[in-house]
Symmetry: C2
Subunit: 269 residues, 2 copies
């Protein structure tokens, strides 16, 4: 029996026996009464629901949106798996219960009105039932421009739109006598790429050393990021993997993190 | 009169006069009938609403969530300002109409079920009516752990959580005889910081040059990002500004973008 159901049964028992359950149980270090009082603070609609949005903790991609009732949020808090209330089936459902593509929830946020919830988490695999990474792959402006949308065009924010562009350049074949794009030239020439990465990192440092304008720093950092992302594409490394590394480093204390590394590295909190 | 209202009046007129409005008007390069047919494809609930989520195109932050009716989506498409339907006031409202903090919509995405919408855009300022950057600043797990939450704790994804940590280190005062964190040491020593950025960029390149493991590339890129972000913090440059630079470069064609730059730079599409 899930703990929140156990809690509800127990609460009922306590009610009859005049026992305050708050002083008796702590499961998974979370206090029943706190969870209950927190759920009381949510502004459920007249069907007992609130909007619940699942977001990728590393990329920020909005994975899916559903609705949650009290039980769904309580289950998400206790199980750390994004759980919703299916309005069509009138039942609780945990994303991944059939596909195994769970969304592992790291944090839950309420909005200012307390009627909208973010499940911030890491998906085990594609979230959409269609196999797409997220459910948002229908771009309205492209459709209206009568542009043909090749495959799925996910709702990508700037960093991932750039990653996708670089990945397209990697897949493109340069025609004979064709002039390759700069990205393609970098992809085809490791020496050129590495010399650019070192050069741009140097120029970023110079903006600090020479006390240059903030706008120069932003521009040089953009250069560093872009060229480094071309290298990531060459090595088949996703930006998401890099951000996962950073999250794992910084969610531990510096000392813990350093101890867990095979070799001494320089990054700590 | 907003164009969609004009359109509705015009549609009505056409209906009586047996004219097909599709062949007559194109406003802002968008075809009325296409917009109408697209809006027909949305699965509005029994109140004629769908969930609409506004997301920052550069950072991926979920800014706010509201509901949209047909008119709200049509207005968003035509005005490019995120527009919702207020259920409490029973009227359309464009975010920013009183605060001037509009959300400038770059793209609109529908989900697989066509009952949920993302407005992907750039906010002019804080989105929340409380003055917070986004409406999601109530962290459930912290509340349950009885942890005191200092100020607002926004729902931050990995990159921005790291940016926030670095920013906190910058604000910290190192006590006499206290041992500063590695981040603080970097913040206090430009020479050390720049030598680390150059060293890490070099090590990132070496993972390509020496054909090292993908995991080494991810780890070295994490090092580059972290150290470069410390430099950004020193220069008071936000990651968001860097991503905006990248978006502006890559949303134009390489040639256009190069022409628009004051000096010849190396990044193009």
């Amino acid at each position: 029996m899930p703990w929140h159901l156990l809690f509800h049964s127990f609460s009922l028992l306590c009610l009859f026996d005049d026992i305050n359950p708050c002083f008796l149980f702590r499961i998974k270090k979370l206090n029943f009464c706190q969870v209950d009082s927190l759920l009381d603070s949510v502004k459920w609609d007249n069907k007992g629901l609130a909007v619940a949005i699942a977001q990728n903790v590393d990329t920020g991609a909005i994975l899916m949106q559903g609705f949650a009732n009290r039980e769904a949020v309580a289950t998400t808090i206790s199980s750390r798996k994004a759980t919703f209330y299916s309005r069509s089936r009138s039942s609780l459902w945990t994303k991944g219960e059939t596909s195994n593509n769970f969304i592992n929830v790291h944090d839950v946020f309420l909005d200012c009105d307390r009627d909208s919830i973010i499940y911030l988490g890491k998906p085990d695999g594609p979230t959409c039932h269609t196999g797409a990474e997220t459910c948002y792959y229908t771009p309205v402006f492209d459709l209206l421009k009568e542009e043909e949308v090749e495959g799925n065009k996910l709702a990508l924010t700037s960093l991932y739109a750039l990653e996708s562009t670089i990945s397209q350049r990697k897949a493109e074949v340069v025609e004979e006598n064709g002039k390759p794009s700069w990205t393609k030239r970098l992809l085809l020439n490791d020496k050129l790429l590495c010399s650019k990465i070192r050069e741009e990192a140097n120029e970023l440092c110079e903006t600090l050393e020479n006390n240059e304008d903030k706008s120069r720093t932003a521009s040089e950092m953009a250069d560093v990021l872009y060229h480094a992302m071309v290298l990531l594409a060459l090595k088949d490394v996703k930006v998401e993997e890099v951000l996962q590394v950073l999250r794992q480093r910084f969610s531990k204390s510096g000392i813990e993190e350093k101890r867990s590394r095979p070799t001494q590295k320089s990054v700590e909190n």
